[in-house]
Each structure stands twice: as C-alpha cells, then as structure tokens.
C-alpha cells in the first residue's frame, strides 16, 4: 500500500513537470546575449539564454557580444531554448560593463562590426572589422561585389555575342569559307567572388586577457538590465598538435581521426592506408564546448578537446619498424572514377594526372604483424609537435583464441577439483 502510494506520488510529480514543459513552447520576449566569438580558426555564433549563467570566450582575437531582445521558446526535442530572430531581433541600447573582482575594468560601448571570409585565403579564416574599418571593409566588399556583378554582366553580354559569332563561324567552316583555326576565341569568365561579408552589425567587442570576469549590461538610464549579469571566462589554447585522418584504400572517404599521441592506429595486414595530417589545437573541453554551445551539459572541465585547424600539405612522414626505417612525403592524390572495377575508382598521385588533388596524404602499406612508429617532419627536419603515433597491424584472425585463453581457468579449476576428489575420501562411512 505504502509502495504503491510512493509510486503514484512519483508519477504525479513527473506528470506535473510534463505539463508546464509543453506550456513553455509558447514564445516569451526576453533579454539575451548573442555572441560572434573567435574560435581559433574563425568566428561562430551562439545564443546565451537567461538560463545560462556563464559565458566563455577564447583569448587572442576580439569576440563580439551582442545584447538583444528576442522571442525565446523552449524546444523539448533538443532540450534547449531557441530564439525566434525572425519575429523579433532588437539591439538593446546601453553599454557592456566588465568587472574583474569588484573592479570595473571596461565599459564597452556599442560598435559597428562586420565579419568577412575570403575563400582565396589559404588559412581560410574569418576577419572581424570594427567601427570605421567595418564600414570601409563592408563598402569594399560592396564595391567588389558590384564590380563582380558588372564583370559578370559584361561577360554574359560577351558570351552571348560570342555564341552568335561562333555559330556563324562554324557555319562558314562547314561551308569551307573559313578554316577551323580562324574560329573566334571565347571570352574569359571573371574570377569568382570569393569574399563573403556580413552586413554592418551592432555589438560589443571584447578582447580580454585570460581570466575570470563578470559582465553586466547597463541601460542608458543607468539601470542594470535585469538578467544581464553573467560570469565571463576568457581562456586560451592548451597546446598545439598534429592529428591524422586515416582511411583505407577500399573506403577512402570514410576516415578515422587520431588526435592524441597516446592513440594507436590499428590496421589490417596488407591493406593500403592514406594518412592525412592536420594541425590541431587543444582546449579545455568545457570551456570550448560551452563557448560554441552555451546550453551544453555534457562537457567536463577536467577533460580536453582537440580541434582541427588546417590540413598539412608539406611534410614527410618518418616510418620506423623493426624491419626498416623510411620516409614518405605528404602529396596530393587524385581519386579517379573507373566504371566496372571492384572499387569503382583508383587513387593516383595527382602529379601523374592533370587534375588537382582530391586530398593530400601519405600512402602507407601495412605489413603483416608489424608495429610501426611514425612522426612528421617539416622541410627543416624538425618534428611536428604531437605527430608521433604507433601503427599496429592487428591479427584479427586470431581473435577466436581469446575464448580459448578465457577457458584456461575453467580447465585448471576442473583439474584441481578432480585432483581433490581423488585425494579425499568422498564415500560415506557406514552408520552404526
């Protein structure tokens, strides 16, 4: 009776929790922060709803914290609050105040900013422009975009004209009035516009040294915006390293990532692998994950996370085994589709083709039962940090022997049991 009452009570509590859960799906006008924060490689954005009390930013480059009013709703499927920017997206007026301890160290006024990304930049990073620079950069982007559109229009006109001329010339060639060498040359297309830019936005740029801070939003009337006080943690990278994306020749587009030097890459005998090295940076797991997803609950402060930055295209892999030591360069490989073959493709060095590389990697063939130590060296022979790994060719065919090994205690136990039975008198004495 008592137990069923307890069960009923728990059920009621659970259900009572469920009802407001659905009720919360309605939108609610709220003050929120939103970030366009520096991630080490570029910029990313995140929403900081009222339920989050700590904001994480990476040091080294300015990040933007925007103070907004929007409609918030709770999305039970992912268990998160989301902003309905379409219905309401207001920039709050005021200044962002940053404290360290009880000292006000910065009152950040609202600034204009824009974020730009140039696809031609080999680093592939975003750039943040503030205030006048933002206006200039945005204007330059608009100019370049306009120029590109004008060039494109002109190109379209030229290509239209060229098409008519070309068809006419072809006709003349077929009539023998014109030699094929005299066909008109096609106009050259303008280069693609690789620059992308955001509009001019409003926010509060923050560029602080590593440390623990507190921030609040002060309104023009001098009052502190309710719900705006948050902890602010500025952190830095722990170290840099080298990772590998490893793929078998038979499944070249399915890679396994190896981030840590303590990891071992297990291979199969006789298989060919491609190791694609990349630079990476290590961060505190909680800080980095919460910076990108402030509502995360799973990350841990006592763990680290490796974040890949860019592929390494120029280095040599030093491969050591008990049999020999050799070096193999990182080079471009081209995946050529071949119909009718087993794999449907072949992977060849791109230098042997006229095509650009599909990926850049070191080719590696795993010998039977071998163990290898690998590390990457740069042009000067220096070892790239964190590039050492072990590669092992695993004898998977022997795995059934694991069960035989596991049975050994049973066999020994049975032997001991039988030996004891033989030693002791197990029959009953006659009563009396």
């Amino acid at each position: 009776m008592k137990r069923s009452f307890l069960f009923l009570l728990l059920l009621l509590i659970a259900l009572s929790g469920a009802v407001p859960g659905y009720a919360q799906n309605t939108e609610e006008r709220s003050f929120v922060y939103a970030t366009n924060h520096y991630t080490g490689n570029g910029y990313a954005s995140a929403l900081i709803p009222p339920s989050v009390d700590e904001v994480f930013l990476l040091s080294g480059s300015p990040s933007i914290i925007a103070a907004k009013e929007t409609n918030l709703y709770y999305w039970p499927i992912t268990n998160e609050y989301k902003a309905d920017w379409e219905s309401l997206n207001l920039n709050a007026s005021g200044e962002l105040q940053i404290y360290q301890g009880s000292n006000l160290i910065s009152s950040v006024p609202q600034s204009k900013y824009t974020l730009q990304y140039d696809g031609n930049d080999p680093a592939g990073t975003y750039r943040l422009f503030l205030n006048e620079e933002a206006e200039t950069a945005y204007q330059q982007y608009l100019d370049r975009r306009k120029q590109y559109r004008d060039d494109l229009n002109q190109y379209h006109q030229l290509i239209n004209a060229f098409t008519i001329l070309y068809q006419d010339a072809l006709k003349k060639v077929s009539e023998g009035l014109l030699s094929p060498d005299q066909l008109p040359q096609a106009p050259i297309a303008p280069p693609d516009l690789t620059l992308f830019s955001s509009e001019i936005l409003l926010g509060y740029p923050v560029d602080l040294p590593v440390g623990d801070y507190r921030m609040q939003f002060r309104l023009p009337d001098g009052e502190v915006q309710p719900g705006s006080v948050k902890k602010l943690k500025v952190f830095e990278a722990l170290r840099v390293g080298t990772g590998y994306k490893v793929a078998d020749l038979e499944r070249w587009n399915q890679t396994e990532d190896s981030f840590s030097t303590t990891e071992t890459i297990y291979c199969l005998d006789g298989h060919t692998y491609f190791l694609r090295p990349f630079s990476q940076t290590e961060y505190n797991q909680r800080y980095f994950v919460r910076m990108n997803n402030p509502q995360d609950k799973l990350s841990r402060e006592d763990r680290q996370i490796w974040v890949s930055s860019k592929a390494i295209s120029s280095a040599d892999l030093q491969i050591k085994s008990t049999a020999n030591t050799y070096s193999a360069p990182v080079e471009g490989y081209y995946v050529r589709q071949i119909l009718g073959t087993k794999l449907g493709y072949e992977i060849v060095p791109s230098r042997e083709t006229e095509q650009g590389p599909t990926f850049e990697a070191v080719r590696f063939v795993a010998d039977q039962g071998r163990a290898y130590s690998i590390e990457l060296t740069d042009a000067s022979g220096g070892v790239l940090p964190g590039s050492a790994r072990q590669i092992r060719c695993t004898q998977t065919s022997r795995s059934p022997w694991l069960y035989v090994l596991s049975s050994l205690p049973l066999i020994i136990g049975l032997a001991i049991y039988l030996a004891r039975r033989a030693k002791v008198q197990t029959h009953k004495p006659i009563e009396g």
């Binding site: 709770y74 297990y266 692998y273 998977t396 795995s399 022997w401 694991l402 596991s406």
Partner: protein, 282 residues
C-alpha cells in the same frame, strides 16, 4: 590503544588462509574467473570485428573496457562469494564456534576480507596475464597504464567486497543477504547505466527544462552525482577514464577514495558484527 588491538593479528591471517584454501579448492572461483575473462574476450572480439568491418581503428587502449568490465564481474561474484560465506557462517553457527576461541569480530572480518582480497589480487593477476597474452596474440600496443587500471580494478574489488561483507552482516541470514546484495548491485549499476543512457538520448539540456524525461534525468543525474562518490564501479570507471586522459592526480584521488571506502565499510561491518553478536539481537 595499542597496535596489538588495532591490527587483526595472527588469527586474521589464519582465517584468511582458511578462506583461500576453501575457495581455491572449489570450482566456483574458476567459473567466476572464466566468466570475467569471457566478458573481456567478447568485448575485445567486438573491437577486432569493428576493425575488420571498418578496416581501421583508432583507440587509446582497446583493453581498458574489457578489463574494467571483467573487474566488475569479478567484484560482483567475489563480493557474492564473501557475502554468502559470512551469512552462511552466521546462519549455520560455524562463526559462533570460532568466537568461542580467540577470534573476535575484528579479526574474523579482517581475515575474511584479507582472504578474499588475496583471491581478488590473484584474479587481477590472472586478468593481467590474459591481457598480456591477448596483446601478443592480436599484436596490440603494450601500455604501462594497464597496470594502473588493474590497480584500480583491484581496489574496486576490495571496496565492493567490504560493501558485500557489510550487507552480509546487516542481512544476517543467507536469504536476506542475497536479496540485499542483488538490490545493491542493481541500484549501483542501473543508476550508472540509466544516467549515461539518458544523457546520450537527451543531448545538451537546460537547467530549467521541466518536461517529464528531463525530470527523470534530473533525478537520475542527482542520484548519480552522489553515487559517483560512493559506487566502487563508478569511482573506478572515473579513475580509469582519468588515467586514460592522463589526469594522474584525479586517478590517484579515485584510488584513495576506493581505499577510504573499503576501510569505512569494513569498520562499519566490524562494529555492526561486534554490536549484534554472532547470535543476533533478541
């Protein structure tokens, strides 16, 4: 208090060797070892099957999970053996016979604990031997951290053993002891597994979310937060993860926690047996 009174002394060592003899003469411990190694073999075999299917595998230590789970199997069954032995001795009256002589609750329980810890240590060495053979068999990378993991597994066996002895003393009769034991194992494992399952199902999560699943998870999370500091399985799992991530200080703290738990639970068990007596309370 003199050291003579604190240390369990010769009687405990005689009882420990008695426990050892009784256990190694039976087939039960060998079946337990077989079950533990079989668990490890199944998990390791799964890794090799994954490698055959995926053609490449990146792993820090493929033996960690098999060894940890083998340790959990060992802990449960060695704990059950110990719990049953003490409950049966109480039930049957053989314990009373020992208490007629120079044996007291402190010496008896210390002796039993030392005996089964010895069995646990020998079992851990068997796992080490199995792991090293498996390494050679499959050409896995040898890792010195394996020794650290096995130390934690041994301490987990000790802590769970102490809990099992306390359960046996509290249960009194063998039937009660089994019921309490099964309940304890079920609670410890179900909260640990339940919380991690729900954490995986519900990505992220807000502190103010109030839907039904979130509430269940919050309850599980809260209980698990407590169990993180109490459950030998959980503490060892954390310690193993810390070891794997190179957080040596936290790994050591986990081990110290296991030792402290063993000592605290043993003290409780000894005090309870001394207070209750071998004939129980009337």
């Amino acid at each position: 208090m003199s050291s003579k009174k604190i240390l369990p002394g010769r009687e405990a060592s005689v009882i420990a060797s008695h426990i050892g003899q009784l256990t190694w003469r039976g087939i039960g411990i060998f079946i337990i070892l077989f079950s533990a190694l079989l668990t490890g073999a199944v998990l390791l075999n799964n890794s090799t099957r994954f490698l055959e299917k995926n053609l490449v595998l990146v792993d820090k230590e493929p033996l960690f999970l098999p060894i940890y789970l083998s340790g959990v199997v060992l802990s449960i069954f060695i704990g059950l053996l110990a719990s049953m032995r003490v409950a049966r001795e109480l039930d049957k009256g053989t314990l009373e016979l020992l208490f007629y002589g120079p044996v007291e609750s402190r010496q008896y329980l210390s002796g039993v604990a030392i005996g089964y810890m010895g069995i646990g240590l020998a079992s851990v060495l068997v796992i080490l031997f199995w792991a090293k053979l498996s390494e050679m068999l499959l050409n896995l990378a040898p890792d010195a951290k394996l020794f650290g993991l096995l130390l934690s597994v041994f301490l987990m066996i000790c802590a769970f053993l102490a809990l099992s002895l306390l359960i046996a003393i509290l249960g009194g009769k063998a039937r009660n002891a089994i019921a309490y034991f099964v309940l304890a194992v079920f609670l410890l494992l179900s909260f640990q597994i339940g919380d991690s399952l729900l954490s995986t199902l519900l990505l992220g999560g807000s502190a103010t979310a109030t839907d039904a699943l979130s509430l269940v998870r919050k309850i599980l999370y809260s209980v698990n937060e407590v169990l993180r500091w109490l459950s030998p399985f959980q503490i060892t799992f954390e310690a193993a993860q810390n070891l794997n991530h190179g957080a040596i200080t936290k790994y050591l703290i986990g081990n110290i926690l296991l030792i402290a738990e063993t000592l605290i639970l043993m003290t409780f068990a000894i005090l309870r047996l001394a207070g209750k007596g071998v004939r129980g309370e009337r």
